[in-house]
Subunit: 216 residues, 2 copies
Amino acid sequence: MVRVKVPDVVVRRLVNYLRILKEKEASPEDYISSAELAALAGVNAAQVRKDLALFGEFGKQGVGYPVLMLKQELVEILGAGEPVSVSIFGVGELGTALARYLTTRHRFDKDYPFHVKALFDVNPKKIGTTVGGVKVSLVTEVSELVKAHDVKVGIITVPPEAAQEVCDVAVRAGIQAFLNFAPVKLKVPEGILVKYQDVTSDLQELTFFLRQRMER
Amino acid sequence: MVRVKVPDVVVRRLVNYLRILKEKEASPEDYISSAELAALAGVNAAQVRKDLALFGEFGKQGVGYPVLMLKQELVEILGAGEPVSVSIFGVGELGTALARYLTTRHRFDKDYPFHVKALFDVNPKKIGTTVGGVKVSLVTEVSELVKAHDVKVGIITVPPEAAQEVCDVAVRAGIQAFLNFAPVKLKVPEGILVKYQDVTSDLQELTFFLRQRMER
């Protein structure tokens, strides 16, 4: 595979294409046209062709892309087949929901790459209980558990006022990327990644398009 | 304000700029440079200037944008100040977490535009209980409640196997846009909007960038 520096927006679209292809049941003879993939992804067909051409010519003029092969290519490009150890900080309702979701996905799909290795909370009542088969530990054990399981990604689901402190502790323990559900901006050292997950932004985007559509 | 058709990707960035500005405490004299806003948004400065120039010239050469004015402009462009009635389908852990989050935001910020008006579930034990002050109702009451509260946006947090049916019921009741947390593609009539919220895609994106960074 050719190594190219992939722009951020392209990565987002590739992830989206992969999600769509995974939802499709396909046999080795099935093809998908750039127009169909584009419609499902909410972009235009030229964009799909341009994105995929970055990695070589695996489409067929007038027929489209072989679904299984394209899926496999995207998995390789994105490194989406390699297992990644994840830990969740904050075992409240959202943290519990995510822990259950991720462990269930993994149970039913052995190729599912995200493995929840540790859960952290500060509530003594929760320590030692399990969610999805994973034990809840005290935040003071972060360093040890993160090293033991080589955890690189942390999901932050603590209340906003606790998020920065938890993030600092996690960074010191060796976590290098965060998916942050707390509605606050996190200060992190250079080189540490943070992706924000904010339902307010999602709703804002959705209602903007809704209004635009109603005005037409 | 000039009315322009705003491309989808620009809307996503505008929503992101607004989120960043809302997190900044600013007085009427404070400016933010396109470089600073760009760094916080994870794009480049030229992109910020281009996006904002779509709506007029409200930056100042060499100084930047007045924070409060820019925030207000973005609120107007996005229609982010107008209240929107929301309902949540599925009062499991995720639905409960979202209901609590949205109702709390609204309680502490009267300008917070998303108002949870109804919660729906099928579990008889949950019917009649409240989350964040909002009553849980049976899915059979969707039509009545959606009309009564003029609900336009539905958040789907039911298990994947129930998502399509719930979506169909909600569309018939008049809901026009969905934020879908169930990991399935929804079939909706032309004109109905669906935004997918998928933690797997987020984690995939994050780990892709993490690997790319580690290889350098």
